[in-house]
Symmetry: D2
Subunit: 311 residues, 4 copies
């Protein structure tokens, strides 16, 4: 039954699976690895799964642009949760392999920059070949095709390997953001520390369109957390922007900004308002003066009185 | 009975009186000249008059800053009508006076720049002394204190003078805008060619405050027709701005801009939405794409659907 | 000899004279009261005087709009100094007059709001009539036409009067800003606490022109201290803006902003860069990061290197 | 000898090679396919090649993000030319294969969306597997691993295949932009139809940073043609933006905008000014009034005169 099934960007042993398992409800769901982000999301669209977990920002497993493009097109979907996972790699080998014995290594191409420095220092002569995913690399080590694979330490058990080295990473604070995506429904209630995601198309023939888009947010005091351009597939120069804003669609400042975007953009797609991972409501700053719901209500009341000659 | 009484910036024979008489209803009202703009408006405030006509822009009789300051402070008033009057002067003399016999001339100080060039050319040796109003100058000519006065041609009859020269003016297209002011009530219905007046106070300690104020209008596609700064009387550097915008408070783009101002400004005073003089609705350009009432309604509907997961 | 002559907005005994006497150099100049701001400035233009002191902001003697209009038009002039003078009034009477004996009072119309409350409380039955200047009012008291005049306490000696009451004022922190104006020359060197004055004309047919004007300053981090609109005399809807900005024309951020204005405006008039009165350099905040002269130089160097392929 | 060697994103038979061959100079250069964008660019960095051709926008061969990331980091490089290539696919098969005999197809994952609709219609039952590049797919068909590959028609000859179907594409006007990259040197002279590329880092802690960045361009009337965000690799929320602007670094408006970016951004990298492909100078609109080089020169002269008291 689909209501108990969650898909994710597989195969087994990916960081995406690890991220999914941090959700309490995962324990009571059937978790199904899918071959790609589109496959994971299509399962939701056609009712085979209740939700899908996919990477959306700064991934070391790829999939980010695929996720953005999939959410921007096709049957609408909505984001209900986000998960932040710190990313560090383990060097997985068949039991008994020593560092000296590693001549070939593999991993997802997107992971390569994260481990490049480590490789240069510790395995300068090892040959790198890319695999389709970090977990797939582990499988290929299990099958004897490579001596070692970079993957999450949690993948060792799945593939009968051992972690020869752990905690390998290049960038400081490397982490990936994942989102839990389902069919459109009413967003969860605001928590005080929320994020609103939207995709906005720009008029290609309008040089100042992005500036105008940003001003719709700025004038209502809504801060942006992510701005990610994507080609729309309609030729050079045509972009849409995936934008994450602080706040919840039910807040007046956010709602008014979204309506402003809706009016000036050829197309806007609301992707959801959901709690921010790892941020408590009291860690979120106050809205800029004049942009709280109370300020909006007071201004509405004043306008109504003005229209009645009672201001 | 006050309901039939209109005050105006006097004395009799001013351009303000001439402007007032262009209103059809003036024929059935008691028209009372007042000594100053504050006096004319106070008569409305305390119920002695139903309305007052006063100059508000580009006047050659002064009173503009007085009008702005009076509307910005004290008991609230509202503008219901505007009148545009082309301004040309006549040189009024006692019957029988010739140009050669004019050695002293008078007029309101604000009128002086309008007639300066004419004076230089035709009466280079005449001595100018200011009078309290153009009409007052006419009275002083009647009393024999001066040889000639600059005033509206219509003032000749009132003071038993004759117009020796007419159609004197300096600036091209010199005209003055007057407003009919009453106690606050529901504004007239929108005509499609309306003007909305408002006074907005700026935070003195905020260098970008005026820019933010203008952006509240710009982001909703509301064009400004007048921006007039006035000191607030609370010390150097404290300003309020009298702003006239195209459109009517009942239009969504105007209403949302006004609410935006209300939220970011320490104080806003709505002065009215009223038909533009001399402009037919079909002469007014269309609202910028995305700012019509229909666009606002569509965006509201979309927001509501998004909040329900049905967008 | 004109080089030793300074004119000012007279007559003798005005606040303007008092402001002028705060300048050390005034002691060695011939100080000549003039009948009006235009007269004071014309004396500079035609070489009869080296400089003129006139009120420019928040005056209780009028003249502010006259000053702005005179500086904006005609033969160019430049501001070299500013003087801030706190404004409090004394009630001047002929020796022997008591408060009970005051039935008529006079003063400049612009002073009236400053003393209105005091009058209501202490002389509720006294009749107010306006005089051409505060000092003129004092003269009329001397001549016996009125019982008392509101003027600066310093005017008592000039007119043989005595100050019955002193320190009368309404607004908190009432002060007037005066400027010393001369023929155009190289501005004084920057002090670190400077003000730059400029008049900028707006295209009447361009609704966003003021917003664009403000952005020329904002994008270079130049804060504005004064924005004063003035009709240009070319018909309703045509404005120029007198703008005071923090900083000196020789600072790069100020210079670049001025050039930006020059490019987008139909007309710009530079009125001078001069030390701020009453503000020490160490009381002035640092320029916004990225807008210091060092930042500009560094960026220029980087651009030059980029153009040479050496960045 | 490296001066005659150009690298490109290989293998042989890619669209990139086809784009490179459109350059007249390609006929006299040694053209070397490289395994990846970083490899192609590193050959330029270390002197093994004079230049490299790589895809930079809207590619159907991937490499776009790799190109942006490579240009943004590491040893600086510069863009000297751009090439636009319309993208249509051919279905390449071993000679003799018919459409009915195609059960497995391959191609680069980025090409898949371009051929998806065609596949659904004409080969609904064929199995798709991704290959490392379009040309690599052709090689795998040659080796018998798959029945057919999507690639450029020009790749048929290289791999001994024939084009069973040609002109397959999904998006209207699908084209890819490639750039010719070399070591930094003086940019080519402006042609009147130029493009300037730059990478700009944003302060992560500054919500309005992107708006400010765009205003640096807007205030100087410089239109943007491309805005592409890229994570900087320094953690969630850290972005740089690859921006292409109309115009040449030697134009004053472009130079001043670049200096503005340099001042407000933690880091800016100039990537070159070069002629636009397929656009003649007379097809490019005039600069916005007030932003031509003549306007800048006039404003500079005015500023100099103002500083001398001669404006």
């Amino acid at each position: 039954m689909s209501a108990t099934r969650y898909t994710y960007l597989g195969p087994e042993g990916t960081f995406t699976e690890a991220a999914l398992r941090t959700l309490p409800e995962a324990a009571t769901r059937e978790l199904v690895p899918m071959v790609s982000v589109p496959a994971a999301l299509d399962a939701v669209r056609n009712g085979d799964a209740a939700a899908a977990l996919v990477p959306i920002e700064n991934s070391v497993e790829g999939g980010v642009t695929a996720t953005l493009d999939e959410l921007a097109s096709g049957e609408p979907l909505m984001i209900y949760r986000e998960v932040l996972l710190p990313i560090t790699f383990a060097l997985l080998v068949r039991p008994g392999t020593t560092l000296a014995g590693v001549r070939t290594v593999t991993g997802h191409p997107v992971a390569q920059p994260q481990v490049r420095n480590w490789l240069r220092q510790h395995l300068p002569d090892a040959l790198w070949e890319s695999s389709a995913s970090n977990a797939d690399g582990a499988r290929l080590v299990q099958e004897g095709k490579y001596d070692a694979a970079f993957a999450g330490e949690f993948a060792a058990a799945t593939y009968g390997l051992e972690a020869l080295v752990t905690d390998i990473h290049d960038a400081q604070n490397a982490e990936t953001r994942f989102v839990l995506v389902g069919r459109p429904a009413r967003p969860a209630a605001p928590t005080g520390a929320d994020r609103t995601s939207v995709v906005i198309w720009l008029r290609a023939d309008r040089p100042g369109a992005l500036l105008e888009l940003l001003q719709e947010f700025a004038v209502r005091g809504v801060s942006l957390m992510l701005i990610q351009s994507r080609p729309t597939g309609e030729g050079i120069g045509n972009y849409c922007f995936a934008v994450d804003a602080e706040g919840h669609i039910s807040e007046r400042r956010v709602g008014e900004a979204l309506m402003g975007l809706k009016r000036i953009s050829p197309r806007v797609r609301f992707l959801g308002s959901y709690p921010r991972a790892g941020v408590a409501p009291d860690e979120v700053g106050q809205p800029r003066p004049g942009t709280s719901d109370a300020d909006f209500t007071e201004a509405s009341d004043w306008l109504a009185r003005s229209q009645d000659g009672r201001a």
